[in-house]
Symmetry: C2
Subunit: 300 residues, 2 copies
């Protein structure tokens, strides 16, 4: 992909002679000489001083040869990276994710990804938002899927998607026909909550003053499947994002009513990786797959 000039300049600088460099590269010296003369015309300055015994880099020549060498070096790394991508056979991805993503979104991503890269294996740990971020920050997980609002300095977001909170309920619930509801509207109805709501450290607790609006919870769980069942059974309503309920909403079994509170409607879910460690090729490809899927879904 690169012009032969780069290696001509590199080798002439190395050999100190156009003829010697040409010999090393199995090219006619006139070809090398012409390319160098052309480059000197392009830059309007000499790259080499001509001496009876050969050539010597000028000041301009030094910076040009440095550029050539860096470019060629980067190109060798590029070739290696492409070889890794093309011939990817194995790799292992440690993933830490919100439980909700394991319903619908994540299985689709993994299915598509594994079709293309069947040799890549996974460890998938479900966790709360903070634990997920922590796992990536600590290097326990290569990739995390979590909310991206308050991040750890040791992680960075590489793809994200708006995922506002709303209220999940059965279609026959009194609030089901609203265009939106407030958290205050939920007071008086039993709630299904995530496990961290017990310690009042859930996102809802953090964003809404639940001392003023006491929410009555009849079901805490960290198992998303249990939350679904409880909501479908009419045991309560849940304040969640759509992510884990896409198929239930589409089938009409459940309904998602957006929350009016701006703070809860501005949340995003994202793929996060370490801010400091190089992302391994397989993990890099996987977050690319996440990003492509983000473009295909709608969590609002």
């Amino acid at each position: 992909m690169h012009h032969p000039l780069l290696r001509y300049i590199d080798e002439v600088a190395r050999q100190g002679s156009i003829r010697k460099a040409a010999k090393v590269m199995n090219v006619a010296s006139s070809a090398v000489n012409r390319q160098i003369l052309k480059a000197e015309a392009e830059f309007d300055t000499r790259l080499f001083d001509r001496l009876p015994e050969g050539v010597e880099l000028t000041a301009a020549g030094r910076v040009v040869v440095e550029h050539c060498r860096r470019t060629l070096y980067d190109y060798r790394n590029l070739r290696a990276a492409i070889d890794d991508i093309r011939d990817l056979r194995t790799g292992h991805i440690q993933l830490s994710t919100l439980d909700s993503t394991t319903f619908g979104f994540l299985p689709q991503v993994m299915e598509d990804f594994s079709n293309e890269y069947p040799g890549v294996s996974f460890t998938v740990a479900t966790a709360g938002p903070d634990e997920t971020i922590e796992a990536v920050a600590k290097g326990i997980a290569h990739v995390g899927l979590s909310f991206t609002r308050d991040l750890h300095p040791d992680v960075r977001v590489v793809a994200e998607k708006p995922s506002p909170f709303g209220v999940i309920m059965r279609p026959d619930h009194p609030l089901a026909d609203r265009h939106y509801v407030t958290v205050e509207d939920c007071v008086g109805f039993p709630l299904v909550r995530t496990m961290d709501a017990r310690g009042k450290t859930s996102i809802i607790d953090q964003e809404i003053d639940t001392a003023v609006l006491p929410l009555s919870t009849i079901f805490y769980t960290n198992a998303h499947i249990m939350a679904k069942h409880a909501i479908k059974a009419g045991r309560g309503i849940g304040i969640y994002t759509k992510v884990g309920f896409l198929s239930d909403i589409k089938s009409g079994e459940l309904r998602f009513v957006p929350l009016a509170e701006r703070i809860l409607s501005e949340y995003k879910i994202g793929a996060i990786v370490s801010a400091h460690k190089n992302v391994e090729t397989s993990a890099h490809l996987f977050v690319n797959a996440i990003e492509r899927h983000f473009r295909k879904v709608d969590f609002t």
Copy 2:
């Protein structure tokens, strides 16, 4: 100097379409298409997925376009750097140097440099070795000429030359015909010393236990010209490097006898710059000139 493929790939990735990119670049779309197909053959992998509405980067394509963009970005910087070098009209170099270099070596460097870059001006401050290093470390000087044995973490050496210490004396001195002498040999003869020898902080004091070998000094000065005069006048002998005495040695007015002590014969003089700050173009060119002159002289 770079193949048009780099900007073709860049622009196609940006536009998401070969035809749109071709239009932006005022090139036939077939030319762009062929170059991309050729690159895909070279890498043996697709760089773009073909969609009905255009193209989308593949995983391999992402790393290739990143390489192209970095190379083109570096190339723009290269062009700017060459413009600076070629059209250098002004610039100012703050130089801190050992007094001894101002006799012979440094004037020659500056004469050659100023012939090539007449618009560059200088501030030249003479100082001791430690003060010189300190000036560069603190950013007071762009370039320093000093001994490079014990450096400051904030400076780095960009060129150096062996410059062993020896004894400078008149040719009629009793020690003048020796092939080498020891410091102990000097005891009993009056010495001309650098100013820092008064506080016993000179290099000689640091490397030789002068409490055990008491050297009797009759002349301290930080003015190299004064040291020369004193030695030529027979007032004493001096423990110096050759740097400031080259012409006197060549003319036979003075003689340099190497010291046997290895620690003092392994010294080098070098051009130093800040380890952290970018070196301005004019200073960069100047240290190149120093380096070229180092190749032409001999301080051993």
